[in-house]
């Protein structure tokens, strides 16, 4: 109980500090710390799957993206400062936010207790999917459509980033050139960590069927195992014109949709798995999707081709 209260207090303080930080770097560092505290909170709430996703995507990947944005901003001439809102406007915004926060707090206390939940029907229907992890059952069977569409959104995000390629850079190698690190901690990590990280990612992916884990967490770790050697200047990403690279990020959603359509033909409903085939099909989807998502997440961090340095 006391530990939980301390955790809540720490989260509030870190969140507030992140909002009030003057330096962008400080704000991002605090944001990452906030994500890690949130991970602990999810663990305390016994939502281990959510905790792992929060750590991998919320704190890890978002943190790296934000740090990259801070670094880019630092190298560019700062834009003219926008007119800050006047004191009356600031007060109005603060009052509005406080009112919304108070209303949300009050309303959450008014929600029915125990909360109406679908946990019982999920548990009752889980055997039909041959899976042991109810979260995977929801993501890959009961609400598989949402997962499918989210995997398409990840691909679309790569298109969004590539669409911002500066003039003259199209088709080239993405990302700013990273100076080669011959020694130092990054060079060591970039060499030593990937074998271990890849094994851990595979484990998280494999146990996801029956225990907390799954493709998004595994993909985030795999992406990090590619980004580390890239940051150390040890590997060069393939050019974005490379067909195999584009197929790699597209093949996951393509296979997912193909299996879904096969279900429509054979079983009479999109994303229905034939009896006895649910687990193998879900594992096939998860493995291929992990590869696609890992590469896509890494490409999101690496960014657009950089004309200045490449051509």
């Amino acid at each position: 109980m006391i530990a939980d209260l301390l955790l809540v207090a720490a989260m509030l303080i870190v969140a507030l500090a992140s909002m009030l930080a003057r330096q962008a770097f400080t704000a991002v560092a605090l944001f990452i710390a906030y994500g890690l505290l949130l991970t602990l909170a999810w663990v305390r709430l016994a939502a281990v799957d959510v905790a792992m996703t929060e750590a991998a995507i919320g704190a890890g990947l978002s943190g790296v993206l934000l740090l990259g944005a801070v670094r880019r901003l630092a190298t560019q001439a700062s834009p003219p400062p926008e007119q800050p809102p006047g004191p009356a406007m600031t007060l109005l915004i603060a009052l509005g936010c406080a009112a919304l926060a108070a209303a949300l707090g009050a309303v959450v206390l008014l929600l029915p207790n125990p909360a109406p939940s679908l946990a019982a029907p999920v548990a009752a229907n889980l055997p039909a999917t041959d899976l042991g992890n109810p979260v995977t059952g929801v993501l890959m069977s009961f609400r598989a459509l949402d997962t499918l569409l989210e995997s398409a959104v990840v691909l679309l995000a790569v298109v969004c980033v590539w669409a911002l390629t500066p003039e003259g850079g199209w088709g080239g190698v993405p990302g700013a050139a990273q100076p080669v690190q011959r020694d130092g901690p990054l060079a060591l990590l970039a060499r030593a960590l990937p074998p271990l990280g890849i094994v851990i990612a595979m484990h998280i992916l494999w146990v996801g069927a029956d225990a907390p884990g799954g493709k998004f967490q595994a993909a985030a770790i795999l992406a990090a195992m590619w980004l580390l050697p890239w940051m150390a200047g040890l590997v060069t990403p393939p050019p974005i014109a490379a067909r195999w690279l584009r197929w790699t990020i597209a093949i996951g959603p393509v296979v997912f949709i193909a299996i879904g359509l096969a279900g429509a033909v054979i079983e009479g409903a999109f994303l229905a798995y034939p009896p006895g085939w649910a687990k193998p099909l879900i594992l096939i989807i998860e493995f291929i999707l992990t590869a696609s998502i890992a590469v896509a997440l890494a490409l999101l961090v690496i960014g657009t081709p950089d004309t200045a340095q490449r051509r």
């Binding site: 919304l100 209303a103 949300l104 009050a106 309303v107 959450v108 008014l110 929600l111 029915p112 909360a115 109406p116 939940s117 679908l118 029907p121 999920v122 229907n125 069977s141 009961f142 609400r143 598989a144 459509l145 949402d146 499918l148 569409l149 989210e150 398409a152 959104v153 691909l155 679309l156 995000a157 790569v158 298109v159 969004c160 590539w162 669409a163 911002l164 390629t165 500066p166 003039e167 199209w170 088709g171 014109a241 067909r243 584009r246 197929w247 597209a250 959603p253 393509v254 949709i257 879904g260 359509l261 279900g263 429509a264 079983e267 009479g268 409903a269 999109f270 994303l271 229905a272 798995y273």
Partner: protein
């Protein structure tokens, strides 16, 4: 039969995913190949809904709600599916001149991005039309935002990047607020299926707060005044083909979701006071948006401000429906009027943006005062603009007239005559800004006669076709509009 709505969503999703590895030229050809299939699917859905007078239901993976996700294509879905397919098809053919890739030519950035983004928009809108689950609808909103935002800044200039970033901020704020409401509703009712929620929700504080924040978020995405600030620079700065889709369809996606919330989830809980506020904002948007369009000096910005005003009309249906819940002639008129406004505005605004794009490309600028000679050099383009303008004004016979007439008579029938005044005043102001463009275009050119660059018949044909449809909607017998009543949850007993 039940599979059709699913196919209408999955066809563009699959095409979008496959378009990325195929590259710009392959993506273009794939898009042109799936357009007729998607159009046929949506027409068949509309015919089935009209003939059976019942929505098409489909359970994904055989899992019934609340555990699984259902698709539900009702009359509103069917009408908008057909509208979306036609507009997307016309815009795709129009866009080949800008984003096509000749055989053997190197891939260009804009061409690579445009086709998957167009397909993603189509998929997102179809998903928003048929999904019956509030979280699946959230995924649809995300797909819509991430497809629309890059289209705004496709030319890569600093101004359009700023417009796109501002659009993204508004859209993400909207997404966050919507998701917050989804969580509250799940906590209160234990399901996210709209049909089930209709039975379960009551006017409890958590539900009311959820609907309030979701409405605020969706208004930001729909660009209802005063949350419209992002729209004019974003829609005016995008390439013409993208502007047409953004103004015609993208803002309607979040609007349809609002209808699902207010007259689906909350069908049994009318909120007449809040509905008056929404319509009040709509009326303000009609008047201020039209005045801004009247004063605008650039053609594309004028058309964008016209969108701000025309969105306002959509919100007039809210108090008319909330005032007379249940089966009623007035509610039916208000509902049909609002939906026909959404459909006819989609055709008219797409035509208008395409026409504006043709003129801007031809003149090399879009200053309204210097459009002299357009009437002689490009009569078809100016005719397109005029026809689309007539429909927006609500001059009979046109789709816009049918919509505004239905809303007007519903307003008078419900005893809320003040909305009738707004509709009439808005029509006059619309006439004013359309006339400004036509008058300038019909002046003899003088020194400013535009250089003759090849404007293909195909581009003019597509824009004119859309404008003709927006007018021709006015010739439909009133019975045809009965389609949009099918499966309405607030009329269900």
């Amino acid at each position: 039969m039940g599979m059709l709505p699913m196919l209408a969503v999955m066809l563009p999703v699959l095409a979008m995913v496959a378009a990325v590895p195929l590259g710009a030229r392959g993506a273009e050809r794939l898009t042109l190949a799936v357009l007729p299939i998607g159009l046929a699917l949506s027409i068949v859905i509309a015919v089935i809904v009209q003939l059976t007078q019942a929505p098409i239901l489909y359970h994904l993976g055989h899992w019934a709600p609340p555990l699984g996700i259902a698709f539900r294509a009702d009359g509103l879905s069917a009408a908008m599916l057909v509208t979306t397919a036609i507009v997307v098809a016309a815009v795709a053919i129009f866009a080949r001149a800008d984003f096509g890739t000749a055989s053997g030519a190197p891939e260009r950035r804009q061409a690579f991005a445009f086709w998957p983004l167009l397909l993603a928009l189509w998929a997102a809108i179809n998903l928003l039309l048929v999904a019956n689950d509030l979280f699946t609808l959230y995924v649809g909103l995300e797909l819509l935002t991430f497809a629309a935002m890059p289209l705004v800044c496709l030319d890569g200039s600093r101004a359009t990047l700023e417009a796109a970033l501002r659009y993204l901020m508004f859209a993400l704020l909207g997404s966050v607020l919507y998701l917050l409401g989804v969580a509250l509703i799940y906590g209160a009712a234990g399901t996210l299926d709209i049909v089930l929620l209709r039975e379960r929700v009551t006017a409890d504080p958590p539900v009311i707060l959820a609907i309030a924040v979701m409405t605020a978020g969706l208004l930001a995405k729909t660009a209802l005044l005063p949350l419209h600030l992002w729209l004019p620079p974003a829609h005016a700065g995008a390439p013409a083909a993208a502007s047409a889709i953004l103004s015609a369809l993208v803002v309607k996606g979040s609007f349809i979701l609002l209808l699902r919330l207010w007259f689906g989830v909350m069908a049994a809980v009318p909120l007449p006071d809040a509905a008056q506020i929404l319509a009040g904002l709509g009326a303000t948007a009609i008047l201020l948006g039209s005045v801004a369009a009247l004063r605008e000096t650039r053609l594309k910005l004028l058309v964008a401000y016209s969108t701000v005003a025309q969105i306002g009309y959509l919100f007039l249906m809210f108090p008319l429906l909330a005032a007379v819940p249940g089966v009623s002639d007035i509610a039916a008129k208000a509902w049909t009027g609002g939906v026909v406004q959404a459909v006819s505005h989609a055709f008219a605004k797409a035509a208008m943006f395409l026409a504006a794009g043709i003129m801007a490309a031809r003149f090399g600028h879009d200053r309204i005062a210097e459009l002299g000679g357009a009437g002689r050099a490009m009569p078809v383009t100016l005719l397109t603009f005029a026809l689309a303008g007539l429909s927006l004004m609500g001059v009979p016979p046109s789709g816009g007239f049918a919509a505004k007439w239905l809303l007007l008579s519903a307003a008078i029938g419900a005893g809320q005559w003040w909305w009738a005044l707004v509709i009439l005043g808005g029509g006059l102001l619309t006439g004013g800004y359309v006339y400004r463009v036509l008058a300038s275009g019909l002046r003899s050119g003088g020194a400013a006669v535009p250089m003759s660059t090849p404007v293909t018949w195909r581009r003019d044909g597509m824009a004119l076709g859309l404008a003709v449809i927006s007018v021709a909607l006015g010739f439909l017998p009133l019975a045809a509009f009965g389609l949009v009543q099918v499966g309405q949850l607030d009329l269900a007993p």
